[in-house]
Amino acid sequence: MIGRTATATGSTRRLVTFGAGALALVLGGSGCVSFYEIPIETPIQAKLDVSPFQRVHVVGFIAGGSDDVDANLETVRLLRSQLRTRSGLRVIEADVLPLAEIAQEMNAKEAAPADAAPEKPTTDKPTEKPGDKASTASAEAVDPAGHSSKVEGQAAGQGAAAQPAMVRVRDEKSLASYEPIFANVEYWKKLGEEFQQPLIVTGTVLFTPQSKSGMVSQTREQYDQLGRRVVVPTRVYMERKGYILRPKFIFIDGRTGTRIHSETFREERLYPSQQNVPALSSYFELMDDVIPRFLNVLSTQKVRGTRVLLK
């Protein structure tokens, strides 16, 4: 229950539900009502008709935020493994694209339109690591929309178009400047042709550290004069830190290169400041909440729960 603003209404509902359930047990125990708890599986229909596709290609993401997690690589790996086991589509295993660099390169080319035809998508290119670059110099560069972003491995004086740089996206504002790549129909069409026209999954992922301090509601166990255990709600001041995950999944038709659907999520986890939670653990915790909703875009998902039948 710690700091999950995205599901605040859900949590409140669950609390009410818990209270109602407890009351029901009391009533049931005293023989006032007849009810039967029953497990149900509610099917939620897929949002996208994926019947024209046999294959899905999670190409890569424009990722940013924390340096502790490579959100592009981790998201691709996680989505591919989930799709492999929980969807009917065949998952294409290919190198993860450094999409931010490609987007930057594209934007730079558009800014200097004198040159030749657009470059072929770099799908067979292995993932570039910062260490692979010739120069490890660090510099503050300006992103395609004019926002300042840190660029590593780019020697001073080199054009962005000539040598794609390691891009550091820090916030949503700078992330937005790379988004025109998702509207580049030609690029995605070419990529689709290369992989036999699959459903392409791409988008943006922002994984940012967060810290908050303030009053937090908690429950505390106490024993009254008769020795009975009672749970007392209390409000305490707490300093908490954690992460916010903001993934935007974009689904592109590999036959036409057009965007067919997109979904944006926001999840937040805060922990007491003395609790040292690794960024990667928090990332997976947050993705745990996102994955069922992501999968629901492509396939019908069953939500397990219980309901109370009444007589």
Binding site: G10, R13, V16, T17, A20, G21, L23, A24, V33, F35, Y36, I38, I40, E41, T42, P43, I44, Q45, K47, K248, H261, S262, E263, T264, R293, N296, V297, V303, G305, R307, V308, L309, L310, K311
Partner: protein, 120 residues
């Protein structure tokens, strides 16, 4: 003057007494359908359960429990619009029933998720 009033009162009483067994019959028949539906659902025979609960609300349209159970069967089938209507009817009949409220809240959580249509 008093005689016609008395006669009228007797007529009203008579009608009321006649109506009570009829309503009780309806409730009894409907309850039998609900019971059978519950047994079917417990054996995962949801189609049969749905049929029984539909019959129950036809026989006694004032039976909140029957609407609640019907809503659950619709929910299980993924028929969210029908489930919502049935839950709302159940709550209209018994607005203070915490168990119906609990079911409805859980249903709404899933329904909200199903109705999110993406960014565009």
């Amino acid at each position: 003057m008093a005689r016609p009033r008395l006669a009228a009162a007797f007529v009203v009483m008579g009608l009321a007494l006649a109506a009570v067994p009829a309503a009780a019959d309806n409730r009894g028949n409907s309850k039998a359908q609900v019971d059978f539906g519950i047994k079917a659902a417990q054996r995962e025979l949801w189609k049969e359960a749905l049929y029984r609960w539909k019959r129950a609300v036809e026989i006694d349209p004032t039976y909140a429990a029957a609407y609640n159970d019907l809503a659950i069967a619709y929910e299980h089938n993924g028929q969210f619009d029908e489930a919502r209507v049935a839950y709302e009817k159940a709550l209209e009949l018994e607005p203070n029933n915490v168990l119906i409220k609990q079911n409805y809240d859980l249903f709404r959580e899933i329904n909200d998720r199903a109705n999110r249509n993406g960014d565009r």
